[in-house]
Amino acid sequence: MSNEHPAESDLLLYVDGEIGAPGLRSIRAHLDACWTCRMRASEMQAAIVAYASEREKNLVDNPPRPWKDLRNDFQMIRRSAPPSLLRRIRSGAIFRAGRVAVFCGAGAALAALGWLVLSDSPQPIPTPREVTTASPVIERPAIRELPEIRAVPLARRGVTRHEEVAILAELHRLKADLGEPVELKVSAGGDAVLAGAGLAPERIQVLREALSKFPKVRLDFSQASIKAPTAESGSLIVSRARPIAFEPELLRFFGGRPALQNATNSILDASDSIVMYAHALDNVEQRFSADRRAALDNEDRETLDRIQSAVHLRVLMEPLFETLKVEPAPRAKGTLLDASLSVDHLLNAALTGAHSGLTDAELYRELRGWCERLRELLQ
């Protein structure tokens, strides 16, 4: 069996049937041999089942009014806009109406007309491939009603690599890559899309203004108005499975249970941010793999290096480690993503009592080891 236990996120992907074939084989092999991870997976499964069961039982009340009969609305839509040509073709109505000959005749006439027009045109002769895609004459009459059929393919005006790096640098300058739930993607059309979830409106405004100088960036903050949970709104760890490690010491250190709960939330939020940040960096690395990186000029490469290194991790748990006199575990190895996920998993175990399979002392030693690895990678 592989000695490394799968990260919680990979285990969830496995339990949820979302993992790809290579990962599936390796996790399955690990679970066959590892009771601890089988138990973790089974607890995860139990949580999913409990949620699903609760959701089933906790049926939503019927809405305040009876559901409206929409058939009148449909009728009005039908009256105000007759079905499109495409729809009529799909439904076969146009053929049932016996207008095939008229349609074909019109098509042939327009084809002939189109041929005459094109043959007089000074444009260069299209290549055979262009002829095939463009279908210049036969399709022309239908273009207005069939918007998805393009007679002439549009030139692709995508974001360049240089612009992509510049946008990433701007996001970095705004610290929008530091754990904020935003992600830069390139759409099928080549435009850059900055997608985000749960940002405050003021923050979105800042991003919008800063990115307005990049015309090829589209912002998609569809969850903008949803308020991020705050300690006041109750996003607290309120219940836990078992007494947490070093509970009396932690209560003394933080000065009581409410303060411990607040600290727990702050630490786990910070951990969330680091995980999100590690994902963002992982995406940057994947986006600029060796060959793409090689195609950049020196200035862009330097910018990328700055994005990937100039991060300062806040001191995380350090005073607590000192108080508890925790010796770090031997130097952990792993990527930034591994380290952030391990810290997150261990913090959950340490502060909320989630299962880790370690004794309290081992748990804190591992945690300190991974925290140091994280700091090393981020500094």
Binding site: A50, E54, D61, P64, A81, Q223, I226, G234
Partner: protein, 161 residues
């Protein structure tokens, strides 16, 4: 089956799922109901216009999500809290008390999840895959995984493992 019947059937089958999702992201019941109905009118309009919709459930949820967010923004509703915080009922038998207490902790933890975590859980419970959930709420697949991981980790803790 003509278009009218198809959309009417979809309306009868899926309206409660759409409505429930809108409640999950914080819409009050009356607004959630209006938006749900509006989604199906838009579906009819879109299909009537000749466009094809491959996965009508995902399409409806995406439209519902966007309309829901626009409504929340325009009307300045506070994100509605789900009312799971009911007192644990008294029990006579110890085992039942433990079970009730466990359920109470679970319900309370669900109510304390962030809106994004609740939205991801609700959509996953409706059978959508991570990619589809990401498309509906406009986040990456990996972010969906993170929200779900965090949510499930909290529920695990609440369940007492």
């Amino acid at each position: 089956m003509d278009l009218n019947e198809r959309v009417t059937t979809a309306y009868e089958e899926m309206r409660m799922d759409i409505y429930r999702y809108l409640l999950t992201i914080g819409l009050p019941a009356h607004a959630a109901q209006d938006i749900t109905q509006d989604c199906f009118i838009r579906l009819f309009e879109t299909l009537h216009g000749g466009a094809s919709v491959e996965n009508s459930r995902a399409w409806l949820l995406r439209v519902a999500h966007n309309l829901g967010i626009n409504t929340l923004t325009a009307k300045g509703f506070d994100t509605a809290e789900l009312d799971f915080d009911q007192p644990a009922p008294a029990a006579t038998v110890e085992e039942r008390l433990i079970e009730e207490e466990r359920k109470h902790r679970l319900r309370r933890e669900i109510s304390l999840l962030s809106t994004q975590q609740r939205a991801c859980l609700e959509l996953r419970a409706q059978g959508l895959r991570y990619r589809e959930i990401g498309e509906i709420i406009g986040i990456s697949t990996s972010a969906v995984g993170e929200f779900l991981r965090r949510a499930i980790s909290r529920l695990r803790s609440a369940l007492g493992e």
